[in-house]
């Protein structure tokens, strides 16, 4: 079972239809079982129930999650595959010593995948949907998968199956969700 962590400003918010439901719907229709939990309700014990964890995105103005980073300390010693989307990537970066930095971008952009990985496969260019006010710096020991050091589009822990992407895979790149779910 996959845990979808809702990072929106409150439980069952109007935003969760936009940032959590499309991911749940796609994974369900691909045969994966998911459960949605708001980030304020995630506990270390509850994580035992799940095989994989996805941290979903938030609305452009919604940065409440960044004020509650202490709630994500479980990630430091979590041995399960974790996938952070946009806000989720920002949290992974901050938890592992990187920084959340102002870097606004809205709309479709060319994404240059520069490294082979279980998440993307071979290097190539794709088009991805950006919707963020903040980007990240690459945490130490993380591998850059897409973009460049100035604009990190995707990263991988390298040793552990922890991935982050700043663009939204639920828009035109649902194959990325399926690849993560099949890891």
């Amino acid at each position: 079972m996959i845990l979808l962590v809702d990072l929106c400003y409150e439980k069952n918010s109007l935003s969760h239809y936009e940032f959590v439901h499309p991911i749940a719907s796609h994974l369900n229709s691909s045969g994966f079982v998911c459960r949605i939990t708001h980030f304020t309700d995630v506990t270390r014990d509850a994580l035992d129930l799940y095989d994989k964890i996805i941290l979903c995105g938030t609305a452009l103005k919604d940065n409440y999650y960044a004020e509650r980073l202490e709630l994500f300390s479980w990630m430091k010693d979590c041995d399960k595959p974790v996938f952070g989307i946009c806000a989720g990537m920002q949290i992974i970066s901050a938890v592992f010593g990187g920084k959340i930095v102002p870097q606004p971008s809205i709309g479709l952009e060319r994404i240059k995948i520069i490294r082979d990985s279980p998440l993307f496969g071979e290097p190539r260019e794709i088009e991805g949907y950006h919707l963020h006010n903040f980007g990240v710096t690459l945490p130490e020991d993380f591998l850059l998968l897409a973009g460049n050091r100035g604009v990190v589009e995707a990263f991988w822990h390298g040793v552990r199956p922890i991935f982050g992407i700043i663009f939204h895979p639920e828009v035109r790149n649902r194959w990325i969700l399926a690849r993560f779910a099949n890891l």
Binding site: K61, L131, R172
Partner: protein
């Protein structure tokens, strides 16, 4: 709430009212029938829908030309903020990155929240949800092959939804019509205090393009 009177904006408004307070509806009345951003058939009828829902309507003119209409949209949102102190904007966008990104950019420039509660929804599931939640929707325009004139004014029913599923497989149409294949008008729904009854309408149709123009309608107690 950006409001065209079609099923997507009405359903998005329903979702918004379940979670937050909707301060007003904003309708952009486009002079261009082929507007990139704004649904046009029967858009002048949104005032009766607003009355049926008990919400104020801000009706704003736009020339409907590609980039100027975005400036008109921004002006309408600014006006709504002044009149109703809105903190955010809700849209009925489903798939269109073109529409969604532009509204997101306007909201960012005005420091407003932006909500798209139908974003990336499974379209067949959504059409069935409309019926199960009690919405009454008619087809107010068709703009693509293979839609014939029988669709004009027809109510969205389970049979029509199954037909759309078949057409999606055969012609790759977008079943909810977000690609501009068809337009809709909502007569009733759970957020309507009164329902709309159409008294007089006319159809025009030629070569897979047609409109169902509502000439007279009234509110009826539910």
């Amino acid at each position: 709430m950006l409001f065209s009177g079609g099923k997507d904006s009405v359903f998005a408004c329903h979702r918004a009212m379940e979670k937050n307070e909707v301060a007003c509806l904003i309708t952009l009345v486009s002079e261009n029938e082929d507007s990139y951003m704004f649904h046009t058939p029967n858009v002048r009828c949104t005032d009766l829908q607003a009355k049926a829902m008990g919400l104020p309507l801000l009706s704003w003119p736009t020339c409907g030309e590609k980039e100027e209409e975005l400036q008109d949209l921004e002006a309408a949102i600014v006006e709504a903020r002044e009149r109703y102190c809105i903190q955010g904007v809700v849209t009925g966008a489903i798939e269109s990155v073109y529409q969604a990104a532009r509204v997101q950019k306007i909201c960012r420039s005005l420091d407003l929240w932006c909500f798209n509660p139908l974003w990336q929804i499974d379209q067949m599931e959504y059409l069935r949800l409309l019926l199960s939640e009690g919405f009454r929707v008619i087809i107010s325009g068709v703009f693509a092959c293979p839609f014939d004139s029988s669709w004009l004014g027809a109510e969205l029913t389970n049979d029509r939804i199954e037909e759309l599923a078949t057409l999606q497989k055969k012609y790759q149409i977008n079943p909810s019509g977000e690609g501009g294949e068809l337009e809709t008008f909502v007569l009733d729904g759970p957020l309507f205090k009164k329902r709309i009854e159409i008294l007089k309408a006319s159809k025009s149709y030629d070569s897979y393009r047609g409109r169902f123009d509502i000439k007279e309608m009234r509110l009826v107690e539910k």
